[in-house]
């Protein structure tokens, strides 16, 4: 079963961290990635640029517009994600708790929908 673990970054909380703490977060990701690879549960990961780099695209009546900035202005933003493939939802939550950002931001755990189903 695959789960998407999204990291919802709280910049206010991150900014007050000491340099050492921030370095520990970065090192923590490396360690976490190594751990996932080692356990055979890694299905993918991506780190995202800060939302001020975003562009938002809309198509209205066939015409496309591109505006600078994120779709939703919010205090917290999506900083990246992991996709893990593990046996139980409990294990997914356990893995989420090992993401270093869990200490000052929040990690959302969402099951991945799959393209199949039992006939009913």
């Amino acid at each position: 079963m695959k789960y998407l673990l999204t990291i919802h970054m709280n910049p206010a909380a991150f900014d007050v961290l000491s340099e050492d703490d921030r370095n520990a977060v970065m090192a923590g990701h490396e360690a976490f990635i190594a751990e996932l690879r080692e356990s055979g549960e890694m299905a993918g990961t991506i780190a995202l640029a800060e939302p001020s780099n975003s562009k938002t695209v809309r198509v209205r009546e066939g015409a496309q517009t591109v505006t600078d900035g994120p779709y939703i202005e919010a205090k917290e933003w999506l900083a990246g994600f992991y996709v893990v493939d593990c046996d139980t939802p409990e294990r997914a939550a356990e893995l989420a708790a090992r993401i270093p950002d869990a200490k000052f931001s929040a990690i959302e755990v969402r099951p991945v929908m799959f393209d199949g189903g039992m006939e009913m």
Binding site: G40, M42, A43, V112, M113, D115, G116, G117, E119, M120
Partner: protein, 417 residues
């Protein structure tokens, strides 16, 4: 058919036999697997040109044993502490294939390998991966694609599983009698999971996953060949055949799921139904009753009725009642409720469903809400049915199923006006 394809067909069932034989003799699971892969590769290259040897299995065992010996010696030289391993390796002249090629020995070897891959120390995901790799002979890349994970992840999962089996004590023989039945259960469960993983994937969109179904069928057929008198092995094979027979009818060309009651039964695979029904019929006569046999018997009752309206629901309800008695679980209760509703009316089915109230895990499971919606619809309670369909649609993790459930809800919304 080219010679190359013929060789490939020949090699596939031989691979687990050769690996089993080597593992049994030397015990180094990982090293044995590498050696067998090399021997298979050598065969795939040489046999089409030079002809298939008289004893293909003996040839493979000899070549793989040599590779393994070389490898272990090299390791031994490289690392002196490998002395013990090197001492285990018999001299080359002892590596001649055993007499009576194709006799009892190779059968046991495949079985031993299956037992090993379903070692209790492994997680379900690892058992599945290892079984497909070592017994099924699928490549790591194929397995990774079938389970939609990166190849490196699958490779790691497999090598970890091998290491775990080794660390667990490396009992490379079939487990002793008291554990044997339990281990066979684990093997059946793994084969069942592989089948489901393939079967629940929508057809067409992902042929790789459909291959899992045929692989599970092939492995279960092999197991049935090894243990022809085991009723549960026969039951599982019958269940797979009878379920797989519906494949051509279970999804529309646009990928939409078609429920059992609405399937065009003329599309069902008659040969699979015939084989599955015969298998389960004789198993029920001869063997101790078990859950796979009962599920196969239920599938056979469905398969034998030419139209959904002619389904023998009293018999199905009776079989579910038996199943609930020998292997009680909430999923069985759900199916039992549907059967009961068909026999005694939707309110009776809903009554049985209420026995699951308060079960927190079930409350979050879409299937409970889907069944409740179905029974409420049968009972004419459109508003409640619609709400339950919507809840089920929100909870399901399957796209085609969500589509189906939303369509049912929408259909009832239309009935209001």
């Amino acid at each position: 058919v080219t010679t190359g394809t013929r060789v490939e067909h020949l090699l596939r069932p031989l691979a687990p036999q050769v690996l089993g034989a080597l593992v049994r003799r030397y015990g180094h699971f990982g090293a044995c697997e590498d050696a067998v892969q090399e021997a298979l590769l050598a065969a795939a290259v040489q046999w089409p040109d030079e002809g298939v040897p008289e004893s293909p299995r003996g040839w493979l065992i000899t070549v793989a044993s040599r590779r393994l010996t070389d490898e272990l010696r090299r390791e031994g030289a490289r690392r002196r502490r490998e002395d013990a391993a090197a001492a285990q390796v018999p001299a080359d002249e002892q590596l001649a294939p055993p007499p009576g090629d194709g006799a009892a020995g190779d059968r046991d070897d495949t079985l031993v390998l299956l037992f090993l891959c379903c070692h209790p120390e492994l997680t379900a995901a690892s058992r599945i991966a290892l079984t497909l790799r070592a017994v099924g002979g699928l490549t790591t890349e194929e397995i990774a694609r079938a389970f939609l994970v990166p190849e490196a992840t699958m490779a790691q999962r497999i090598s970890r599983a091998k290491a775990r089996v080794k660390a667990a004590g490396g009992a490379f023989d079939a487990p002793p009698e008291p554990e044997r039945a339990e281990r066979l259960q684990a093997v059946l469960h793994v084969l069942y999971l592989i089948f489901n993983e393939g079967y629940t994937a929508s057809s067409g969109a992902d042929l790789q996953r459909a291959e899992l179904t045929s692989e599970a069928l092939r492995l279960t057929r092999t197991l049935h060949g090894l243990l022809p008198d085991d009723g549960e092995v026969a039951g599982l094979l019958a269940l797979m055949l009878l379920t797989d027979a519906r494949r051509p009818a279970r999804s529309a060309p646009d990928g939409r799921l078609i429920p059992l009651g609405e399937q065009d039964r003329s599309l069902w695979n008659a040969a699979s139904i015939e084989e599955g029904s015969a298998l389960i019929g004789s198993a029920l006569e001869r063997s101790v009753l078990g859950p796979y046999q009962l599920q196969a018997a239920i599938a056979a009752v469905h398969a034998e009725s030419p139209r959904a309206e002619e389904t023998d629901w009293p018999q199905i309800a009776g079989l579910y009642e038996l199943l609930a008695r020998i292997a009680p679980n909430p999923m069985v209760t759900l199916n039992q409720a549907v059967a009961l509703a068909m026999v005694a009316g939707p309110r009776a089915g809903l009554g049985l469903l209420s026995s699951l109230d308060g079960d927190e895990r079930m409350d979050r499971h879409h299937r409970l809400h889907a069944v409740r919606a179905h029974l409420l619809e049968m009972a004419g309670d459109a508003a409640e049915a619609r709400a339950s369909y919507r809840t089920a649609a929100r909870l399901t993790l399957s796209l085609p199923e969500q589509r189906y459930l939303e369509a049912r809800a929408a259909r009832l919304a239309g009935a209001d006006h």
